[in-house]
Amino acid sequence: MNMAYAAATGAVPPGPALPGSLQRNRTLGQWLRFASEGQVDVFSGKVELGQGILTALAQIVAEELDLRIDQVRMHAANTDTSPDEAVTSGSLSVQESGTALRWAAAETRHLFLQAAAAALHCAPSALQVADGAFLHADGRRESYWTLAGRVVLDREASGAIAPKDAGAYRVVGQPAARLDLPAKVFGLPAFIHDMVLPGMLHARMLRPPSPAARLASADAAEAALDQARLVRDGSLLAVVAATQYLANRAAVAAAKRLAWETPLAAPLPDEQALPDWIRRQPADASLVAASPRQQDAVAAPPAGVFSASYSRPYLAHASIAPSCALAQFSDGRLTVWTHSQGIYNLRADLALAFGMAPADITVRHVESAGCYGHNGADDAAFDAAWLARALPGQPVRVQWSRADELAWAPFGPAAVVDLQADVDSLGNVQSWRHSVRSNGHSNRPGRAATPALLGSWHTAKPFPPLLALNAPLAAGGGAERNALPCYDFPVWQATSHRLLSMPLRTSALRALGAHVNVFAVESFMDELAEAAGRDPLEYRLAHCGDPRARAVLEDAARRAGWPGAHLAEDRGMGIGFARYKNTGAWCAVVAEIEAGVDIMVRRLTISVDVGAAINPDGVRNQIEGGAIQACSWTLKEAVRFDAERVTSDSWDTYPILRFSEVPAVDVGILDGAGPPLGAGEASVGPTAAAIGNAVARALGLRVRALPITAERIQQLLA
């Protein structure tokens, strides 16, 4: 659903090839403007999700324009003035938006340099460019701002002006302080929750008690309201009041008095037997990819055949902030403020849901708490827009409850991975079969003929809930992401089985299928190594010719003190590796765990090659953050539900990793050559696998079903 998705699924865009998102947003002035003295206004279609992307993009622009970073003003994306860069996802923002800005800024600098030379009657080579000024040795000068009226940026990019060589970088590649951090550290208004529109009303949604329930009557609830009103369309329901306090009070009062009916519906699966349930579901099976040869003519018959199955449960995004949105509907125009990852995609679905022309809708991005995929942001935006249309002229602010955030936002799908390998007499893999089964990982707005927005499925004339899909492999895939081996197996194949029933709504969560696939592949590699009596690191290296893969494996192992012979008896060390999406960053993780009553991860030693790192401190932060989140998924997290409803709707019932449980993390960034490859998701799968492998080596017990809890270990020991 990022630009890679658009390229893999959409029509061929017009015009000759241009780099990154310039391909679909071809005008220089869409990206850069010099309207304010002393600064450049930058318009990216990518959005800040807490990952620091706007700072990295500002570094790129400062570099190519020869500005200081404090002269760069990054504008939050909106559908009136920003390039359409689809969704901020897939660790692709530096590749897509960064590449476009790099080339757009290089060409812009070139045009201004020509104009400055003309104005000063000298050769361009006689001018130095610094802090936005074009300086002649004789003291005369022009600047981006003195020339702004003379250089037309409303022109198509040529793609002919090459950006700087990496050797000339002074801003890119250096650690940069996050532009957005001061406001957050001083408690200034920084988030969508802090926005105030004049006269705005506060709304609270009243969701059904279960996905199948339908509202029979709201009469008693309506009669009980005090200083609040109820807005209803079918089973979609909200209370609206002048303050949050009144809205909360009304929501509590109304919820108790709503009459719901639940038609006979299939019960939710047994959460204790999810892998069995997944195997029983009808599925759309497809071959993801396979080695050119499916038989190795010269290979001896296998000396051994191994198989194992791995699984993960549904996972929640569990952002620290509840989803929030504001909207106003006036004179037929709808304006929505949202923390969506894809403002244009959201606009398309809002247009579908309300029968409006996209041109009559403006969607503006405002930051929220950390976003790790398709969470409740778009749904909350629909809720606010729906209420704004019911209350024309009146700004409406919707804030979800914590319970709804954990129970009604989409989940990362539960999955099963079956692996099989034939090995030779040394234990080396002759052939490898990977099969992944799960719901699709993508159910984002802006792609289907009907809206992908929760509330639009609950109205009196509802749109149908959409079944989650998987993006094409060329766009990174979904369930099949990292189902292809990162090793040199002579014969291999990967298949995917996308479930055609979807009792719980699933969509994109950080790393998509790469989390469970890498956990499975790297666990199985350790199992094969152990069966062959070989060291897990040596075993991996024996199957791995890619020098950049070998480099991260060897670096992480060396820094961690592999194989950890010095460790105490209750400790264990495990390794995990993957090249994210098979085309992105290389990442190896060594986990050191302590096996007490619970498994505690004590240390993660990580080695990563992200290609060129724009902001090394940002890369470090993203890699460490992904690894710590993966610790939490691996040791603690599972969406809980009974036959009717999700029951993990608080931090008590959906616990995440706390400070005392967080390991020390040591991230090493290898000198990466070539283009930037993204950092946000690369450490997730390798961390999960490294923990599982460390547990196996400490306890002699292989846990193949996530999360790795004390209960799970006791079941296996029993």
Partner: protein
């Protein structure tokens, strides 16, 4: 349900009269009536720490604290710790360590850390982690936050 009235309290060393129901959550008074947006809403149940404020020096979840419970008391919010012109040592340390990703939990982290340093100016790492145990971070910035608190504590010592 209690009726309207006036509750007097100190917020960031300034006396305030709040004209509201006595059971109004403190967070609503801070954010919506006093326009102090730095106290962030996370769960409404005192389980995440995003809305912590100091009440007489102790970190309390303002989402679960009714106004009547803080009548006459002294409240410190993140805005009361320091400002861009005069940062609190913890705020400066958070910037120096770049101790955040999304920054939504940051206010609550600063409040818990400020309470810690007030009662223990020289904590070790385990004491910092214990003091932040009630604060949730989803982005995985924990270790940077711990380093920032230790840096601020080290600065205290050297002053």
């Amino acid at each position: 349900m209690s009726s309207g009235g006036t509750v007097a309290l100190q917020v960031n060393n300034t006396p305030r009269q709040i004209d509201a129901d006595a059971d109004l959550p403190l967070i609503d008074a801070l954010r919506d009536m006093l326009d102090l947006k730095g106290t962030r809403f996370g769960c409404g149940a005192g389980q995440c720490g995003a809305c912590f404020v100091l009440v007489g020096g102790h970190p309390m979840p303002s989402c679960e604290t009714p106004l009547w419970a803080v009548a006459g008391k002294s409240i410190t919010t993140v805005e009361g710790l320091g400002s861009p012109g005069a940062p609190h040592p913890l705020q400066q340390a958070f910037l120096d360590e770049q101790a955040a990703q999304c920054g939504y939990c940051t206010s609550g982290m600063l409040i818990s850390a400020a309470a810690l340093l007030r009662r223990n100016p020289d904590p070790d790492e385990a004491e910092v982690r214990a003091a932040l145990e009630r604060n949730l971070c989803r982005c995985g910035s924990h270790n940077r936050i711990v380093r920032a608190v230790l840096r601020a504590a080290a600065g205290n010592k050297s002053r």
